[in-house]
């Protein structure tokens, strides 16, 4: 029996190959994402191990508050005197103070090295060779406070050499002399990040600006002294608020942190799209197998009449699916390695630099991707297999080509699904319930798939009718062909429908979010100019920049907006730090109660939303805890309407800066006197440039604030592109099967005078009808779902339908139909006239 299934599958190998390709693409994507995840994990693990390989114990401030900027928690500093204390502990071979902070190096051309994304660090040069992961390859260690060692890849990219002088934005611009170039574990640096190392005094002076303090103390044990023993001995001499952990604890902490803050998110994001691709593949596989079963009805019936049991028929179809799934899975896993490389390249291209290194292929990833692919194929084939086993022996005697009518059950189910989906959607939109919105979306997708065959017939008829007055015979015939088996045509379009619906949904959401953001920034901003660093990874600005700006004639006000992570009554929160007395002159804030300008030294302001969730109101006591461990009692003095440019808590700048380590600004808002904007902008530009920042007018800033969304949409498009590709493959597959089925008819048409070209046109038009049907219904579905989701998610957001983009999607859908038809059309045109008529 197995032998028979294999023979049969081999006989129809070309028809099954298309299905295997769909499986392979889905599996490749899944394998690729899993391998990418493992690779990144391995690279980060390796990186962190290398960084603290020679470190036995790390001494640091015990209060750490996680931040969204770095994998390390924001921590306060410790006294430099502790270095000496720790050095005297029995078993310590070496102990050095360490400072790591922000510092962006300018290259020879005066621009920041590395551009967007990669971390830019400045700190101190550790003299102990084992404690320092960097090793000098050229020049010498820094000696004077303005001397630095920089990493090799930064030097190469920025065209900098030993003896050169350049600027380091810390973010205050500092002139530095390069005395040495170092490598990191044999490589030019950590990924594409840059590092500049001062002497300890230089780092205190230029990076943290806190003399007598260090970030942490790194300790090397004497031979024979275990890390844990040394840690315990050191703990005994530390004052309150300072902790000691072993090097391996420190490494593990960072590995866990990068997993939870970045890798898990990335994995989830990628796997979500891989699952979408596989779902689309499943729709396609189900459809294709359904067609092959229908085409083999007589064969299956013959088998039944000579004694094959239902189970044997069923298992022969399942065997085929296993074969196809296995083949697709193997090809997919191999292709997945390529996909992992491509994905990595794509993220690099979009500006998220990830650490370099070879691919890490775990057996678990391979098994998982392969297994999921096989499972998806098996699930997708269940319905066709059941239909196959239901073939009665009598059907061997009937003529082929009889088709089932669309039943009343389907009509009612479709109606119920679509109606309840729409109703639920409206309810979700009006009551702002996201869970309902998701349920409505799901109902509509299923409803659309069930309803598609019903809707398809009139659509195809309309296409035929449309063709007649224009004399386009091919379109008219294509319409008839597509209508011949509306169920098949519609489920072929179904995979594309789902893909396009998702594309439209994301396009719509992005456009609406962007419009909302744009609107809020525009209406919330009364400043004329904004100085900011447009890059992703956040190049930061010196808070002095506001003072520099104020000295420019024509500037009425300049306000720096900064902030960072704090604990508010023990709960982590990112706060905005700003000079609140001047804030209202650059932003139009609606205060619900209290006044922004009268917060005083110990008052804070919170957003309406935050006030509601935390149950705060003017007069509430809130304790702020800074990363250094300092705790400051404050009072809520104002509640403001939610604002796009501010976090949910505003802390007066003076209060924030007096406790924060290396305080920086994200943006400086400038209000000018009437008519001086252009002149001020020109004067401001060189100052901004020294900080690696740009000056934008308020509308420009509003635009660029939303541009990150476009980048994200670009990535989402690429991800969904694969699902759409699988869907198109499904269309090509179905058409190939149709060509096979219509051989006699194609031959007959050619015999009575149809040209090859006409034969191709008919097939192409049929493909376009199917793909446009899927695209248009998909867009409609995506738009409705997008509207529901957006209305439910955002309260008072600006809904925006990006007609131009949606039109482009529709056009692409049509063109894709043409592309999908190329192969099958060529085959249709090649059908030999005589042989086709002769075939039984």
């Amino acid at each position: 029996m197995l032998h028979m299934s294999l023979r049969s599958a081999w006989y129809r190998r070309r028809r099954l190959a298309g299905i295997a390709v769909a499986v392979a693409l889905g599996v490749a994507f899944l394998a690729g994402t899993l391998v990418l995840g493992d690779t990144l994990q391995a690279n980060f693990d390796n990186l962190f191990r290398q960084v603290s390989a020679g470190t036995s114990v790390v001494v640091r401030n015990s209060t750490g508050i996680s931040t969204d900027r770095s994998i390390d928690k924001a921590r306060g500093l410790v006294d430099e005197q502790l270095v000496a204390t720790v050095s005297h502990v029995d078993g310590v071979a070496a102990a050095e103070g360490q400072i790591v902070g922000y510092g962006s190096l300018d290259g020879r051309n005066g621009k920041a090295i590395g551009g967007n994304g990669p971390p830019r660090q400045a700190g101190n040069w550790i003299n102990d060779r084992s404690l320092n992961p960097y090793h000098l390859v050229e020049g010498r260690a820094p000696q004077a406070p303005d001397e630095v060692v920089i990493n090799k890849s930064a030097a190469d990219t920025g065209d900098l050499h030993v003896g050169d002088t350049t600027t380091l934005q810390t973010p205050q611009p500092v002139r530095v002399h390069i005395t040495g170039i170092a490598t990191f574990g044999g490589a030019g640096g950590v990924g594409t990040s840059t590092f500049a190392a001062f002497t300890l005094a230089g780092a205190q002076q230029n990076v943290t600006r806190q003399p007598g303090k260090v970030d942490s103390i790194v300790v090397r044990a004497e031979p024979g002294v275990s890390d844990t023993t040394l840690r315990d001995r050191i703990r005994a001499v530390l004052p309150h608020g300072v902790q000691a952990i072993t090097g391996s604890q420190y490494t593990q902490e960072r590995i866990d942190s990068v997993s939870s803050t970045f890798l898990d998110l990335l994995r989830t994001f990628l796997v979500a799209f891989a699952v979408i691709a596989l779902l689309v593949a499943m729709i396609s596989i189900n459809n294709t197998f359904g067609i092959t079963v229908a085409q083999r009805t007589r064969e299956l019936a013959l088998l039944r009449s000579i004694g094959a049991s239902r189970r044997q028929i069923r298992s022969s179809v399942v065997t085929e699916a296993i074969l196809v799934g296995t083949l697709g899975g193997v090809v997919g896993v191999v292709g997945g390695l390529g996909v992992a490389g491509l994905l990595k390249g794509m993220f690099d291209a979009f500006g998220f630099a990830l650490p370099a290194g070879g691919l890490t292929v775990h057996t678990s990833a391979v098994v998982a991707a392969f297994g999921v692919g096989l499972l998806a194929t098996l699930i997708a084939v269940q319905l066709p297999a059941r239909r196959a086993s239901g073939v009665t022996p009598m059907e061997a005697l009937r003529s082929a080509g009889e088709q089932r009518q669309i039943g009343r059950g389907r009509r009612l189910t479709a109606l119920a699904l679509v109606a309840s989906g729409l109703a639920l959607g409206f309810v979700a939109a009006t009551t702002a319930t996201v869970a309902l919105a998701a349920a409505a979306g799901l109902l509509l997708v299923v409803g659309a798939l069930v309803a598609a065959p019903i809707a398809f017939r009139p659509v195809a008829r309309a296409a035929s009718a449309l063709a007649r007055p224009f004399g386009r015979l091919s379109l008219s015939m294509a319409g008839q062909n597509a209508r011949r088996n509306p169920r098949r045509s519609a489920s072929t379009a179904g995979a594309l429908l789902v893909g396009v619906a998702l594309v439209s949904l994301f396009t719509l959401l992005t456009a609406s979010l962007r419009a909302t953001l744009d609107n809020e920034v525009r209406s919330g901003l009364t400043a004329d100019l904004v100085v900011s660093n447009p890059s992703f990874g956040g190049g930061r600005l010196s808070p002095d920049l506001a003072d520099d700006a104020l000295r420019i004639p024509g500037v009425r006000t300049a306000v720096a907006l900064g902030g960072g992570p704090l604990e508010l009554n023990g709960t982590r929160s990112i706060v905005s730090a700003v000079d609140t007395s001047r804030l209202t002159s650059v932003m139009s804030l609606t205060t619900v109660s209290g006044s922004m300008s009268s917060l005083g030294r110990d008052g804070i302001a919170v957003s309406k939303g935050e006030a509601q969730t935390r149950g705060w109101h003017p007069g509430s006591r809130v304790d702020l805890t800074f990363p250094g461990g300092a705790s400051v009692p404050t009072t809520v003095r104002a509640v403001y309407d939610n604002a796009q440019l501010l976090q949910d808590t505003v802390v007066p700048q003076q209060l924030y800066d007096s406790h924060a380590v290396q305080p920086t600004a994200d943006a400086v808002f400038v209000r000018t006197n009437t008519g001086t904007t252009t002149a001020v902008q020109r004067a401001l530009e060189p100052i901004a440039q020294r900080n690696g920042a740009t000056v934008q007018t308020a509308p420009q800033f509003a635009d660029s604030a939303a541009s990150g969304l476009e980048t994200l949409l670009g990535i989402v498009y690429v991800m969904l592109g694969l699902a759409v590709l699988i869907a198109l493959l499904g269309i090509a597959n179905t058409l190939s099967l149709a060509v096979y089925e219509r051989r006699r008819e194609l031959g007959l048409l050619r015999a009575v005078g149809q040209t090859r070209r006409q034969a191709r046109s008919v097939l192409r038009d049929e493909s376009v009808i199917i793909s446009l049907f899927g695209t248009v219904v998909g867009i409609a579905l995506g738009m409705f779902a997008g509207w529901v989701l957006f209305t439910a998610l955002s309260d008072g957001g600006v809904f925006s339908a990006p007609w131009a983009q949606l039109t482009v999607i529709a056009v692409i859908g049509g063109v894709a139909g043409v592309v999908a038809s190329i192969g099958p059309a060529r085959r249709a045109a090649r059908v030999p006239v005589l042989e086709a008529i002769g075939t039984e």
Partner: protein, 247 residues
């Protein structure tokens, strides 16, 4: 050819009625048909199109169910059998030859012949299968795919398959309908030979008087009822009888 006494019936239809549809659209394909297919006989079933002869064959062969009455094969009432049991019955006790599309396109002639054994997970009875193959004259064609065989050769493969499991009865539905007269005569000769030399029981539906003349007896159906019977038919007699249907 002498008329042999009926030794026993391999298959029997008792008061079989088969209807399709309901109410106004009710079609009576068979009405109270009682027939015995005698052992080691070639029985032909004839009738004009629409007479119910194919429906009768399908009901006898456990391909279709009856509305009233019962069908027995080897003493077993088909109505009492489950789908599984029917499957086993078709595989082990019945052989089929259809008018066309008798073979699986992916398998060689030999593989098609032993397919019922494979489906049952049994080893083919080599000696018997070889004899059948020799009888239908397929020796040099066994490794060919159906698409590489002529229509007559394909029907010979189908016949060999039908005989390969030594079924109690072979049902043939217009086995020569798609063949030219020479190939048709060959197939009929093999069928006749199977009855004479192996004692095979065969029931054959046909509309061809020449084909019917190979049979031991002919049953004439008209409008779903048995209208006549003829023993030791000859083509002219059958043709004359058929002409009466035309009216």
């Amino acid at each position: 050819m002498t008329t042999t006494a009926i030794r026993g019936a391999v298959a029997r239809a008792e008061h079989v009625t088969k209807t399709y549809g309901e109410g106004q659209a009710l079609v009576r394909a068979l009405v109270d048909v009682t027939i015995e297919i005698p052992d080691a006989h070639l029985t032909a079933i004839m009738g004009p199109s629409g007479s119910g002869k194919s429906t009768f064959l399908h009901c006898m062969a456990a391909l279709d169910s009856v509305s009233e009455g019962r069908v027995l094969i080897g003493g077993t009432d088909l109505a009492t059998l489950s789908d599984r049991e029917l499957t086993v019955l078709r595989r082990e006790h019945i052989g089929f030859v259809f008018q066309s599309f008798n073979l699986l396109p992916a398998m060689t002639a030999y593989e098609n012949i032993v397919l019922p054994y494979e489906l049952g997970g049994r080893k083919p009875d080599r000696a018997w299968v070889d004899e059948v193959i020799r009888t239908v004259g397929l020796g040099d064609r066994l490794t060919h795919l159906p698409s590489e065989l002529s229509g007559g050769q394909q029907q010979r493969v189908a016949l060999a398959r039908a005989l390969a499991t030594r079924p109690e009865i072979v049902f043939a539905d217009e086995p020569t309908g798609n063949l030219d007269s020479r190939a048709g005569a060959e197939i009929l000769g093999f069928l006749r030979g199977a009855v004479d030399s192996f004692g095979q029981t065969v029931a054959m539906v046909t509309h061809d008087p020449v084909a019917a003349s190979y049979a031991d007896s002919v049953i004439f159906l008209g409008d779903g009822r048995i209208v006549d019977r003829m023993e030791d038919p000859d083509p002219q007699l059958v043709l004359d009888r058929m002409k009466q249907f035309g009216g």
